[in-house]
Symmetry: C2
Subunit: 309 residues, 2 copies
């Protein structure tokens, strides 16, 4: 059977990413455990690890996540940092990585050297042994997938579920304009911030922003609620407007929910002491669905990054 | 920088797989631990696991590991079984898997359903939860990489190093003709056999045969030795000759070294009791390099599968 559909309407592109993931879970059936022990969070919590071991996988693909303008070292660095960002989102620290390469036999040795040296720089900085990998041929392609194992840093890992009606919504750093500013490969994964937040009891749910806040926030939103975000509070990157901040993607920042009754001033003060150089923004809260205040953004008007176009 | 070299002699194809792996370890530098804790064995032993947790990654790629003649369910099954074979080679049992897909947006939904249902069948049979994954777009490609975590089943894992001069060489099942016989996707990973062998003290080193015995045996051969293999003892698959058995690859059988002083009759009897339907063949032994008996095969005349052509 030919894996490529004769017409687009029978393809994964027509199905779309979200429906495809739902379908995959159905096809897998009983071997697909519920999140956080299966598909659906930034990392999966491994069975038999007493909730303490995490795993995630993310690729970089030529023509998708980088092109010839990005230095090879930045591509290797980005590959590991993307995965570190997923680990940060659950409050984990890295344990080990493996890299699977599928590459055209014409791939330049010099390019590959740059790629691995860039990867190694980040691996040294965050203490990630690269323990294995695989190299295989794939004509006209260059795909590098990295699987990252990690461990909880504190007494718990933070998942995407747990936010409640009325909770405040916070985001680290700035959003939007990732591509023109080269932030998409220059970013710093928020490992220290994620580990710190996982120890704060008022933080109820967390994830990283990779496909644009407007799209990603759905996963954090409790049933029956809608996020009421203030445009004025959005920390837009220089040159990025509200639409860019909500939809560009590749921000690699953390978005998290803080319980309604928390001492928000104490949180802000503690944050500034610990992370004086990283911005923290309260951008809104979860309100009853259908009761969006007039001044709040309607996120349905914004769409995040769609992986299968 | 363009990742594809303007001329082939600066490409990974010209460098070749073995030199490339050596180069990668050099580029990674201190973040690349020594095997079995790093690159170089069937699986890597994870740091901080007291030698008990294993990780491996292997892909299936359209045009390389399968084509339109292989049913999609068999492709999904093969992806997991290839990795289970690596785990078997160290005496491990599976713990969890993640799957990274890079696919052309034209990929057929029906094909993908078959792929995942085939993967799920094998996952159910061997109790492997599929805990996560990633889907990304890659034009004109279809690459599925599976990372498998496993655990030691007994008191030790068996690595590729440990064979000594004079040790006997054994192989499970039959070799050669994997492609014409469809063995390359119909095979059964030798998990039970690998776990059993890891508990036998006379088994000193083990690996799986995936690139052809002639190539793979190098990794098992102790320094200063050469494998003296008897053509008559080679368990050729029906329709496969000695050359096919030595070079075809994709056998997914186990090859292992048994200490020179072992009671080989006792081993053979115990094997037949436990695995009456799986052939076990003593095919030769490790002798002094340069002292190959006249009747032994010269493996330098045979080449196994080269991944970057």
């Amino acid at each position: 059977m030919n894996p490529f559909a004769p017409s687009l309407h029978r393809s994964v592109s027509a199905l779309g990413e979200e429906n495809l993931i739902t379908a995959i879970r159905r096809w897998l059936g009983p071997v697909s455990p519920k999140a956080p022990f299966g598909i659906g969070d930034d990392c999966a919590v491994l069975p038999g690890s007493r909730g303490r071991q995490l795993i995630t996988v993310d690729p970089v693909i030529f023509g998708e996540h980088f092109d010839a303008t990005v230095p090879p070292g930045a591509v290797g660095a980005k590959l590991l940092k993307r995965n570190l960002s997923d680990l940060a989102a659950m409050g984990g620290r890295p344990q080990a990585a493996v890299v699977a390469l599928a590459l055209d036999p014409r791939t330049s040795t010099r390019w590959l050297e740059g790629f691995y040296r860039g990867l190694a720089r980040v691996a040294r900085r965050y203490h990630v042994p690269v323990v294995g990998g695989d190299i295989a041929q794939s004509k006209h392609a260059l795909v590098a997938s990295l699987t990252l194992l990690g461990q909880a840093t504190g007494p718990r890992v933070v998942t995407r579920t747990g936010a409640r009606m009325g909770d405040w919504i916070y985001v680290t750093g700035r959003l939007g304009g990732s591509l023109p500013s080269s932030h998409h490969w220059k970013f710093t994964p928020r490992l220290a911030e994620g580990a710190w937040l996982a120890r704060r009891r008022e933080v109820r749910a967390m994830m990283d922003v990779s496909d644009g806040l407007a799209k990603d926030l759905h996963a954090l939103t409790p049933t029956g609620a809608t996020p009421a975000i203030s445009a004025a509070a959005l920390p837009c990157r220089r040159g990025a407007d509200v639409r860019a901040a909500l939809t560009d993607g590749e921000d690699y920042e953390l978005v998290f929910a803080v319980s309604a009754g928390a001492d928000r001033d104490a949180l802000a003060r503690a944050w500034r002491r610990r992370f004086p150089r990283t911005r923290l923004s309260g951008i809104g809260r979860f309100v009853q669905a259908g009761r969006l205040p007039a001044e709040a953004l309607n996120l349905d008007d914004y769409r995040g990054f769609e992986h299968l176009r």
